[in-house]
């Protein structure tokens, strides 16, 4: 009885525990019986499978989707190629294997070892690719030694090919082997080491669509690695085609224009935002480095001081120069700083805040209004206008038109650029904004940088008399896509808050710049009513230039801009050109744009 006072009565739960133990005991007995069945009764069947047959899982890579231009021209396709992998578990002796393979494939043994070491953590039965893009000679040499070297696995794979080499390379992008860090990320969860993935451009942006689904083949191989039969096969599903908005003919001219120069050309449809041509020079041949290994061409390109891999249309940042006068004109009109009839006198030089400021035209333009100031790209007019304006107002309208903000173009890596504000200078430079700073901004200089694509978009907004536009390379409807791209159609009806009449004033000025003997006269195409604005931006400050000149160091010329559209009424096409160190916009960029306007007229205007 005493017992019960010290110890509580646990008999009920003990009984329950005992029942559970009995269940466990029965499960153990069941397991023993099951193992008896597998290991003793069915032994022969499994023994045969293990002895004679081995089942190997082979991944069949899908065909990557094609990339086509507007008129269906194929810009990226696939061709057959061979790759060879090592299956480490099949090596008799790993070191011997390495030796033999190095000789067979003409590889450095250390390179080979490094390659395999990179994928050390993979299970031993998983093939590691050791060489791709094999020559026919190499294929036959491997094939001939298949019995001696069961550790080698020869497989065909579709290889990406860009039939026109460097053509539109900055739009298409390129493929390279997935990096170990990329493999860790959620986006590439389904990918395997050794896979090739898009690294820039359309290849990267539309990776999911282009990729397709890999197939899997389970095959029975004997101990020599010879295929004895197929257990099952899931066929790969090829990736989907991506149609670009690019027009091959215009693209070709855009690239011819840039040949031998550095810069960018954008041709786009201002109504829809579809990009018709996109060139950035220097460019590169993406065929050269679709490779799992690091060929010398790749190192050359990557380390080239001219940055051929840099997509200048969205990553090149340049001061807009006189092109910005269009924005200044609109901002000044809308903010009621000036009217269409306000005039200023240009004598070639003016003192502002105790500093002489020069017009590019030394004799001076005389008295002029906004229209003729744009036509002649008069600096003094815009200095005077800028003096009356707040920097934040200028930035506000600039951003509204698309400068200094990302355009949302559907290829990765876009830079934002910068339109300076008081706030920006306070945080970035730890200085207040000086009135003199505004004067530089008024003619597109100062700490202001934009991308050529932004300039093209802002030109489209002006051409549309204020209707906003999102640029794109892949048209949603044709590609059966959904989402934000869907809005990028002529039906989008968002307008910037600037009076349409103000646009007419600025457009009149840019029409005269081309057609009435203004600075952009070289862009004139008879019968096509081109409107445009040139720009020549100083790449270094005046003081620095003088200092260099004193030391007899060649001063590099200015960047050369042209941006414009045609025709004046119901515009069809926008052309933006930037040539790095190309000299004056009127001398270099404007005549180049003429070729594009002419061609566009030939193709599209009846």
């Amino acid at each position: 009885m005493n017992h019960h006072k010290i110890y509580e009565d646990l008999s009920l739960i003990a009984k329950r525990a005992r029942k559970t133990l009995i269940v466990f005991f029965m499960l153990f007995i069941f397991l023993i019986l099951y193992f008896w069945k597998i290991q003793v009764l069915d032994h022969k069947q499994y023994w045969e499978k293990s002895e004679n047959n081995r089942i190997r899982e082979v991944i069949i890579p899908p065909q990557r989707g094609l990339i086509r231009a507007r008129n269906n021209t194929i810009l990226a396709r696939n061709i057959g190629s061979y790759k060879v992998s090592i299956i480490r578990e099949n090596c008799e002796d790993f070191e011997d294997s390495l030796q033999n393979i190095a000789v067979l494939l003409n590889l450095e043994i250390e390179e080979l070892r490094e390659r395999i070491d990179k994928y050390r953590s993979l299970p031993l039965f998983r093939p590691i690719i050791i060489k791709d893009n094999l020559t026919l000679q190499e294929v036959s040499r491997i094939e001939a030694r298949r019995l001696e070297m069961p550790e080698l696995l020869l497989q065909s794979e579709p290889k990406r090919e860009y039939p026109y080499g460097t053509f539109a390379s900055h739009v298409l992008g390129y493929l390279q082997e997935i990096s170990p860090t990329e493999l860790q990320t959620e986006v590439y969860r389904q990918r395997r080491p050794g896979d090739l993935v898009g690294k820039t451009g359309i290849e990267k942006q539309y990776e999911d669509r282009l990729l397709g689904t890999e197939g899997e083949l389970l095959e029975v191989v004997n101990s020599l690695g010879r295929v004895m039969g197929k257990v099952s096969e899931v066929k790969p599903i090829p990736g989907k085609t991506v149609w670009l908005t690019l027009d091959v003919e215009l693209q070709q001219i855009a690239e011819e224009i840039l040949e031998g120069r550095e810069g960018a050309v954008i041709v786009m449809d201002p109504k829809s935002g579809g990009v018709l041509a996109w060139a950035s020079f220097p460019n590169f041949d993406p065929n050269k480095f679709i490779n799992r290994f690091t060929p010398e061409e790749w190192i050359d390109l990557r380390d080239n001081p001219n940055f051929p891999l840099q997509n200048r249309a969205i990553r090149g940042l340049y001061p807009p120069g006189s092109v910005f006068k269009l924005t200044m004109g609109l901002a000044a009109l809308q903010s009621r700083t000036i009217t269409e009839r306000t005039s200023f006198f240009c004598s070639g030089v003016v003192q502002i805040y105790r500093q002489p400021r020069h017009c590019w035209y030394e004799p001076g333009h005389g008295r002029l209004t906004l229209v003729s100031a744009i036509k002649n790209s008069c600096n003094i007019f815009f200095y005077q206008t800028g003096r009356l304006m707040e920097i934040d107002t200028i930035a506000h309208y600039g951003k509204m038109l698309g400068l200094g903000v990302k355009t949302g173009i559907d290829i990765p890596g876009e830079s934002e650029g910068l339109l300076p504000t008081r706030e920006w200078k306070k945080t970035a430079r730890k200085e207040p904004w000086y009135p003199g700073d505004t004067i530089s901004v008024a003619i597109g200089q100062g700490p202001m940088i934009v991308t050529p694509l932004q300039v093209a978009v802002h030109t489209s907004v002006i051409a549309n008399r204020g209707r906003m536009v999102d640029p794109y390379l892949v048209e949603s409807r044709r590609n059966g896509l959904e989402g934000p791209v869907e809005n990028r159609s002529p039906s989008s009806n968002n307008y910037v808050s600037i009076d349409p009449n103000h646009f007419e004033v600025v457009i009149e000025g840019s029409w005269m710049a081309v057609n009435d003997g203004g600075t952009a006269a070289a862009a004139r195409v008879p019968g096509f009513d081109v409107c445009g604005k040139t720009g020549s931006t100083q790449t270094i400050g005046r003081e620095a230039a003088e200092r260099l000149a004193e030391q007899n160091i060649e001063v590099r010329k200015t960047h050369s801009w042209f941006t414009g559209f045609a025709p004046k009424e119901n515009p069809r096409v926008v052309v933006t050109i930037l040539i790095e160190y190309g000299g004056g916009g009127g001398e270099t960029a404007a005549p180049l744009s003429k070729k594009l306007f002419e061609r566009f007229k030939e193709i599209y205007v009846r």
Partner: protein, 363 residues
């Protein structure tokens, strides 16, 4: 702290069985990883020693004191599990690891100990004949939080290994039909939710493969097939230690961790399988005896929860290697390679020894 009677009451038989099972593990790890770089058997031995020391250190604290402080421990574990979702390291597809200077640990394993202690506290004064709603819901929450957090990592296997602990507690407290039905419905709902939102494709693959093996002969089915071939080809006597078997097993990923029992089946045959099952059963039987020796309700709950955790993990893992359970990523306790799970299981056994050695009330 400790007195001589208590030390005299340490269950040396149990500890002996524990070491025996661990030693079998080291031998098989050595065989199955001989072609892999990394000296897994040495690392495993190191962890066994560390875990043994931890086991004895842990014994010095009365389990009732551990239970008293179980709630704060539990909270700390939850905080770590939340933190790991943000700062953890990805290893084989799940964010379940904390990287320390020399090794990594998996907090989701260690957390099971605090769950066992907390549940024992919840039921220590529970004397009703059948489970009540209050207790059922509360203990469901105690176990549900870590399951969800671990499931989010997403480490389905480890999350699943919490369930037997809960099941054990419910069995002891007395299941009544209503509660069983409600929990089953909840589990199904959770399963559907998990299927739609939480599970990754590879986890779905594994489940569908079990139910419809012909649907996916690739992927998950491939592992089960290779494992069965390995076990079946072992025959009655096996192919011999470290002999000839490798060609099959090299097809099998995780053969020194989750699929270690396939290696045993292939190399030691049916005889080996029965012997290892026997060793294991003896271990579980010995653990079970402590259920009947415990002096109080808390002790019974602790011991039973530990037994459920270990026995179910063992059974699930073994069934997994012969295709009777989906490949859930649950290691074989004491035999599979892996420091965190080894340490956790040793600490769990330590709790059982603790209960048994303090079975006499000092009046």
């Amino acid at each position: 702290m400790l007195d001589r009677t208590q030390i005299g009451n340490i269950d040396w038989v149990l500890i002996g069985l524990l070491i025996l099972n661990s030693a079998i593990g080291v031998a098989v790890i050595y065989s199955s990883s001989q072609h892999l770089p990394g000296d897994y058997h040495l690392k495993q031995m190191f962890w066994i020693i560390v875990s043994l020391i931890a086991l004895f250190v842990f014994l010095s604290i009365d389990y009732n004191s551990l239970v008293t402080y179980s709630f704060p421990f539990y909270l700390i574990c939850l905080v770590i599990l939340v933190g790991i979702l943000f700062f953890g390291v990805f290893i084989s597809g799940a964010k379940s690891w904390i990287r320390l200077p020399f090794f990594q640990i998996q907090p989701s394993e260690i957390c099971k100990i605090t769950v066992i202690l907390l549940l024992a506290q919840v039921f220590s004064g529970f004397k009703k004949a059948y489970l009540t709603w209050g207790k059922a819901v509360f203990s469901g929450a105690v176990i549900g939080l870590p399951i969800v957090l671990v499931g989010l990592q997403p480490d389905l296997g480890t999350a699943l290994s919490y369930v037997p602990i809960f099941l054990g507690v419910l069995i002891l407290a007395g299941l009544n039909k209503k509660i069983v039905i409600v929990f089953l419905i909840l589990a199904v709902l959770l399963g559907i939710a998990g299927w739609s939102f939480l599970f990754k494709d590879y986890q779905k693959d594994r489940l569908t493969t079990l139910v419809f093996p012909s649907k996916d002969p690739l992927g998950a089915g491939y592992q089960i097939m290779q494992s069965k071939i390995a076990v079946g080809s072992g025959g009655f006597l096996g192919k011999g230690y470290m002999k000839g078997s490798q060609s099959q097993l090299r097809f099998l990923p995780a053969r020194h961790t989750d699929f270690i029992f396939s290696v045993i089946g292939e190399e030691f045959g049916f005889v080996g399988v029965v012997l290892v099952l026997l060793c294991y059963f003896l271990l579980i039987l010995r653990l079970f005896q402590s259920v009947f020796k415990a002096r109080d309700r808390t002790g019974v709950y602790i011991v039973f929860a530990v037994v459920m955790m270990l026995a179910c993990q063992f059974l699930i893992n073994v069934m997994m290697t012969i295709g009777l359970f989906p490949i859930a990523g649950i290691p074989l306790p004491f035999l599979s390679y892996g420091g965190s799970s080894l340490l956790t299981n040793y600490l769990a056994v330590s709790l059982v020894v603790n209960v048994r050695m303090r079975r006499f009330v000092n009046v």
